[in-house]
């Protein structure tokens, strides 16, 4: 799946988690802009993993700070 198609599906997955209706672009930061607690992060990661049938380990999560980096990682993880 190319980046645009992956980004479109991630946008759908993130919708119900974005409770504060933050405007999201590639530079949006999960910790800084979305202010999710650790449980929300876990549920969101699980939703992404299930959507794309991939694993994003905690080690990889530590490298993902922005929405754009998440899209890139998901593109790569799909191989």
């Amino acid at each position: 799946m190319d980046r645009a198609a992956t980004a479109a599906r991630i946008a759908e997955v993130i919708e119900p988690f974005n409770k504060k209706a933050v405007t999201i672009d590639d530079s949006t930061s999960f910790a800084g802009d979305l202010e999710w607690d650790s449980l929300t992060v876990m549920d969101f990661v699980a939703a992404i993993e299930d959507e794309f049938d991939i694993i994003i380990t905690m080690n990889q999560q530590a490298e993902i700070e922005t929405y754009g980096q998440l899209i890139d990682s998901v593109v790569n993880l799909q191989g």
């Binding site: 607690d37 650790s38 449980l39 876990m42 549920d43 699980a46 993993e49 299930d50 049938d53 991939i54 694993i55 380990t57 905690m58 080690n59 990889q60």
Partner: protein
Amino acid sequence: MSEGIDEVDRPVMPTGEKGDLFSKFDGLIEQRRALLSAGMEDPFGLVMQRVLSPTVAVCNGRETILLGTYNYMGMTFDPDVIAAGKEALDDFGAGTTGSRVLNGTYAGHKAVEQALKDFYAMDHAMVFATGYQANLGIISTIAGKGDYIVLDIDSHASIWDGCKLGDAEVVPFRHNDIEAMEKRLKRIPEGAGKLVILEGVYSMLGDIAPLTEMIAIAKANGAMVLVDEAHSMGFIGPNGRGVAEDQGVLDQVDFVIGTFSKSVGTVGGFCVSNHPKFEIMRLVCRPYVFTASLPPSVVATAATSIRKLMHGSNKRAHLWENSRTLHKGLREMGFKLGTETPQSAIISVIMPDLERGAAMWEALLHEGLYVNLARPPATPAGMTLLRCSLCAEHTAEQVQTILGMFQCAGAKVGAI
């Protein structure tokens, strides 16, 4: 999850301003200051001036019933245990001043490992200085770079720290969610080493894991299984070997981790296993090698206690009776509890928020009852908990007294 108080179990690096390395703790310092300046007794600064028995101590100047010490089997004051400790102190001295692999292995260390092998009917036993170090050592040594660890999100801090130290790929799943665990196992790349880590009893809510189903799935997917049975040893399972024994799957567990600081009544940690190559761990496990061994008196008390726990069925029955009575009584008063039924010797009372939780904790202390106050971020889902752990030495009358104290304190702070 742990008895940790101010720290989330999963390691998080706080961020702060440059310069003072302590500025990252400012938020916590301020939260504590606010709580204490309101005149509250410090829930994390309690001092036990005298300990009268496994169930009663003088805390902050008051005689207090202990309902938050994990002293499940009340072995801390067992006369045989104390006698063994004194004898070892006289015969072998105060400490070993050495690593297990150098000068720190005494007859007592071999004897306590033999007691563990007999208790669990397993081939190998390895003793660590604490339960924390047992998890840290075993997990970090067996699961290294390129291996995958699949673990419950509510795992104890020592498990998370073991994962981090070993550099394995870490994949958490939602608490006790069998399907989520299976999905993650199936997505691990072909050929990678896999370790599934579970706990028998999760200490925050006192709930148990569906080990039968989870271990079957782990095995079907080629994973090794480690189960932390810290909160079940001595009273869950026909021989007190824990939740895996109770559910009939202990033979499928590759590594059982346990502690001496709960039912055994002293301090120390261990791993038991039937793995044919297990003994090599003594040479490659850094938290085992690079620290001094337990003092002779400690291993002597532990060995005596473990052997007595093998014959503790009457005490076990009484502990379960206490757990059922407290659970039922608190429910009937209208408290919200962590489990629908009493699943362990931990009964967790869920408080609506930190303020009322802290007020209730203090009111109970003034009534003469000590419980654990557990609060976010150490708790699951941001809950504030009053964690009660029962002891086989609590009398039926004490449990009724405890219920009366909850009634009074609950009414005083408007919690029921």
